[in-house]
């Protein structure tokens, strides 16, 4: 399927993938690696995935969005070592109307965070390393 990749993610090919002459609106989202997490400086991080299930779950999420709204959706999540500013996840949703495009884009990123088996190990500026647990976090992007 190719939802999960160890290569840098570019947004433009995803937009091209979903656009069509009858689709007037493309909403997209990029999740980027931030330089901090709960007040600690982040140098880089490693994303790892349960690959076959991550592919399957991404496919289910995209299919759900495309069935619920009149949209085409593209989705990529990166794994491996990422630096601050790198794109970790990208979603593009194209529809005839912007309401649908925004709703579908938002749905996909929320469901990716909730359901796709991917884990994040952060390397902090203070030399420590830790698995990120969003269920324990005060807030997250």
């Amino acid at each position: 399927m190719g939802f999960v990749t160890d290569r840098p993610i570019e947004l433009t090919p995803l937009v091209v993938q979903v656009q069509a002459p009858d689709r007037g609106g493309v909403a997209s989202f990029l999740g980027l690696v931030r330089d901090h997490h709960e007040g600690r400086g982040v140098l880089r991080l490693d994303y790892s995935a349960y690959g076959p299930m991550a592919e399957a779950e991404c496919g289910r999420i995209v299919a759900e969005a495309e069935a619920r709204w009149q949209v085409a959706v593209a989705l990529r999540h990166r794994v491996g070592t990422l630096q601050v500013g790198d794109v970790a996840v990208a979603v593009a949703a194209a529809g005839g109307h912007r309401d649908e495009a925004f709703a579908a884009c938002r749905y996909v990123i929320e469901e990716v965070k909730r359901r796709v088996p991917i884990w994040k190990r952060e390397y902090y500026a203070d030399g420590t390393v830790g698995w990120v647990d969003p269920t324990a976090a005060v807030q997250h992007a």
Binding site: Y50, R115, P117, P134
Partner: protein, 88 residues
């Protein structure tokens, strides 16, 4: 890493992230008495060294889909215990 029972079932269990760190391995074949659920798999793993760092009700997958810990399992299943997800 197997308990011999007959009739029984054999499953593969994958561990990820902090759970693999806790137990020191990232996959194992288990033979269990039939019928069994994921709760039986979890109880087995929690009894191993480091297993106390697994929660009693972790996120679970059976054959690449999310399931609850009460899910019945069958021979040949690929099961997985998933630490808190952090994608996106």
């Amino acid at each position: 890493m197997s308990s011999s029972v007959a009739p029984g079932l054999t499953v593969r269990v994958l561990l990820f992230g902090s759970y693999a760190d806790a137990l020191g391995f990232d996959q194992v074949e288990l033979a269990l008495a039939s019928p069994a659920t994921l709760d039986d798999v979890i109880a087995h793993l929690r009894a191993l060294p480091g297993g106390d760092r697994l929660p009693p009700k972790p996120l679970c997958a059976r054959n690449l889909a999310h399931v609850g810990t009460g899910e019945p399992i069958a021979s040949g299943d690929e099961l997985a215990l998933l630490p808190p997800l952090a994608g996106g």
